[in-house]
């Protein structure tokens, strides 16, 4: 497939500095009062019809948060955030309870159309209830739990998932419908006291996804959530919790876009994954939030805490991320390798252009015996951006036979950007085997000229070379995301050379 051609056409359709997803949807919304207080927390909890224990949990987090200070160790630089100048909750006003896609506000559906998210199409093509025996295994199914601003407005495929016993719903619903599961697992991987942003999230999280896959079940489809920040000045605090019970498997895709804004928008999500014995969770992200304009104004601040707990023996958690957006990215999807013989993976492509700042990486915490982890990180810095890989690999005293392989490659485009690698490696027992490889290279004029002499334009040449550079990671993505990601990579690097 001549993906490069397609990419270039897409790039050409976009005017410089015109973020493709920079539009607003005009719908009424239901807002919490500005600022953060116990009242705000209560307002959110009330809006969600939450049980008392949940409100208590939030309030404890809020009180804890008041005692904490913002972390400053990351290699990012931004004006101080006034947490009292933000709205912490906003939801599209539902006209009535929604039972099918047709009942969704047409404005919202239109937004999804512009984003190229085939929610309606998926529903029509796949039908809600496919007839038994007619299922085409070649056609991969994707269930979409669409998050519009802070409330999930549509959930498809519920019926089929239900048949398999998989619970996939907005977390606000799960709190009401499956309190025993939520109470057992929420905060068990990222405790409310974990870090400044995670604690903030615990106090004010609005919605997110909840997934539970029962023992021995292989989730029959890829699960997918699309996040979108729409309300002016609204912090977005997603909370996602995925539990794979013994011997189960689930693959979850997350993709994000946000409209163009002058004010900076704060995003502080928390994602918790729990894998029991022999279970496997694959979590993929393509993130292309608004990175700010060509002068570095605006853009999303993305302070995310993502962590997976390989709680059971032989469990496996794999993170794959393609990060191209946001003005500031502060994100370290991590694995706690608690179970014996458990394994963790982190595959990452982080692209920064313009004035973007990325400080991202992973933590692999080896606690169990014979645990293994693998880190493949590809950082691409262009324009005036700064791109930092920060990673921790550690083996506990009891984690005998722990193994890690890390490869960090950085590619520089132009001479005004920076790439930094900050690996922390600690082995507390002598049987651990840790390998670390790192390279930094500059996209060479000779390579570009070679491609151009063969008929490619400058942008096509950069897209081709960069897609080659990140190939190892792209291959880890589910097919439908890999193609999207490839396009996104070229689009993000638009105007980075020359």
């Amino acid at each position: 497939m001549p993906a490069v051609q397609e990419t270039v056409e897409r790039v050409k359709r976009i005017d410089v500095d015109q973020y493709r997803y920079g539009f607003e949807t005009l719908i009424e919304s239901d807002k919490a009062p500005k600022g953060l207080s116990e009242e705000t927390v209560k307002f959110i909890s009330e809006k969600k019809n939450e049980p008392a224990w949940m409100l208590q949990w939030r309030l404890e987090a809020y009180r804890r948060w008041l005692t904490m200070t913002e972390p400053t160790w990351a290699r990012v630089d931004y004006p101080k955030i006034d947490f009292q100048d933000l709205y912490y909750y906003s939801a599209p006003k539902p006209k009535k309870t929604i039972s099918s896609l047709d009942e969704i506000d047409p404005e919202i559906l239109k937004t999804y159309e512009k984003l190229g998210i085939p929610l309606r199409e998926v529903a029509m093509l796949e039908g809600v209830e496919p007839k038994v025996g007619e299922e085409d295994p070649a056609r991969r199914k994707i269930a979409v739990d669409a998050v519009f601003d802070s409330v999930s407005v549509a959930t498809t495929f519920k019926a089929e998932l239900k048949k398999a016993g998989v619970i996939f719903m907005p977390i606000s619903e799960a709190i009401r419908e499956h309190p025993e599961l939520v109470q057992k697992y929420l905060g068990s991987v990222v405790p409310t006291s974990d870090n400044f942003y995670a604690t903030l999230n615990s106090a004010v999280f609005s919605d997110g996804s909840f997934v539970y896959v029962p023992p021995g079940v292989r989730c029959p489809m890829e699960l997918s959530t699309y996040f979108r920040i729409n309300e002016r000045n609204t912090g977005q605090f997603e909370r996602t919790l995925i539990i794979a019970d013994k011997g189960s498997y689930v693959s979850y895709l997350e993709g994000c876009t946000a409209p163009q804004r002058d004010e900076n928008q704060l995003h502080a999500a928390v994602v918790e994954l729990v894998a029991h014995d022999d279970a496997e969770i694959k979590y993929s992200t393509v993130q292309n939030w608004y990175p700010g304009n060509s002068e570095g104004k605006g853009g999303i601040y993305n302070f995310v805490t993502k962590r997976g707990d390989c709680r059971g023996d032989r469990s496996k958690i794999s993170w794959t991320q393609v990060e191209t957006g946001s003005a500031i990215t502060w994100k370290y999807p991590s694995c706690i390798l608690r179970g014996d013989n458990s394994s963790g993976e982190f595959y990452s492509i982080a692209i920064s252009n313009g004035y973007q700042q990325v400080d991202s990486g992973t933590k692999m915490i080896h606690l169990g015996k014979n645990t293994s982890s693998r880190i493949i990180s590809k950082g691409i810095a262009a324009g005036k951006s700064q791109n930092t890989y920060r990673g921790l690999v550690t083996a506990h005293r009891k984690a005998t036979g722990a193994r890690n392989f890390t490869a960090c490659d950085s590619l520089l485009i132009g001479d005004k950007c920076g790439a930094h690698t900050v690996p922390y490696i600690e082995a507390k027992n002598s049987s651990a085997t840790f390998e670390h490889e790192a390279t930094t290279s500059k996209i060479s004029e000779d390579v570009l000229f070679y491609c151009i002499q063969r008929g490619l334009s400058q942008e096509e040449a950069v897209g081709l070379v960069v897609n080659g550079f990140v190939k190892d990671v792209l291959q880890q993505l589910p097919m439908e995301f890999a193609v999207e990601a490839q396009k996104l990579i070229s689009i993000s690097l638009e105007g980075s050379v020359g």
Binding site: Q5, Q453, R454, G455, E460, L464, G468, F469
Partner: protein, 249 residues
């Protein structure tokens, strides 16, 4: 008919003039050899024709099929039929050779307003050409020139030349880094591409290559100018007596 006309070309690199008024005419169907010592400006000429950045043309002109070549972007020149076989072909990790060939070929066809090749047509064409050049299929699955031997890299250049069907082929020091066997294979590939509509400019230090690719015209370059032109026997003369006698004053 004249395919390439270089007229009184003056070129600078960072304030230093490398070509001091070079004139050269290459007609369709002809093979020209350009010989000369290191630093005589041979590679500069090839780079300027292909449009490599970093060179400043201060005077003169280059016409290609009667059009002003210097007005065209480098990728436009490629689409119009200018092909440069590199002395040191670059490696592009992670980009399969097959994918690269197809992307480039389709980019050129699109620029000319032609239809892009369909997958089966393209594969058929690549198979044909690679077979004639003794290029195994698995080499095409590897990253562009990654882990290729010197001979394989040059054969890959010839493969592209055969696929893209350019009307002007510039071969920059094609013999560098090749043993005799590899040189013969590459030269056979080039010879198979000789045609009445296609011209070639073969840049080399040594006469050796010209035993395999026999030129119609030989030019001797020295200090940024063509100082002597003649038939193929001029190359033999150079081999015997060296460049000193031709050195420009």
């Amino acid at each position: 008919m004249a395919l390439l006309e270089v007229k009184d070309l003056k070129v600078r690199v960072e304030e230093r003039e490398i070509l001091h008024g070079l004139t050269l005419t290459v007609n369709e169907g002809e093979v020209h050899a350009i010989m000369g010592p290191n630093g005589s400006g041979k590679s500069t000429l090839s780079h300027v024709i292909a449009g490599k950045p970093g060179y400043e043309v201060t005077d003169g002109q280059i016409l290609f099929k009667g059009e002003d070549l210097l007005e065209m972007a480098p990728e436009e020149r490629a689409a119009k039929g200018v092909f440069l076989a590199f002395q040191y072909p670059v490696e592009i990790p992670g980009v399969a050779t097959m994918n690269f060939l197809r992307t480039a070929l389709n980019a050129q066809r699109k620029a000319r307003g032609e239809d892009e090749y369909s997958t089966p047509d393209f594969l058929k064409k690549v198979r044909e050409v690679s077979k004639s050049l003794n290029i195994p299929q698995d080499m095409l699955k590897r990253g562009v020139n990654v882990g290729f031997s010197g001979g394989e890299k040059k054969r890959n250049e010839v493969l592209q030349m055969a696929l893209f069907e350019p009307s002007l082929c510039i071969l920059d020091e094609m013999d560098s880094g090749l043993d005799i066997d590899a040189l013969r294979i590459a030269a056979d590939g080039v010879n198979a591409l000789r045609s009445p509509k296609r011209a070639m400019v073969v840049i080399t230090h040594y006469q050796r290559l010209l035993n395999y690719i026999v030129p119609d015209v030989v030019h001797v370059m020295s200090k940024g100018r063509v100082v002597k032109s003649g038939g193929k026997e001029l190359a033999l003369e150079l081999e015997a007596s060296g460049y000193t006698q031709f050195e420009a004053a």
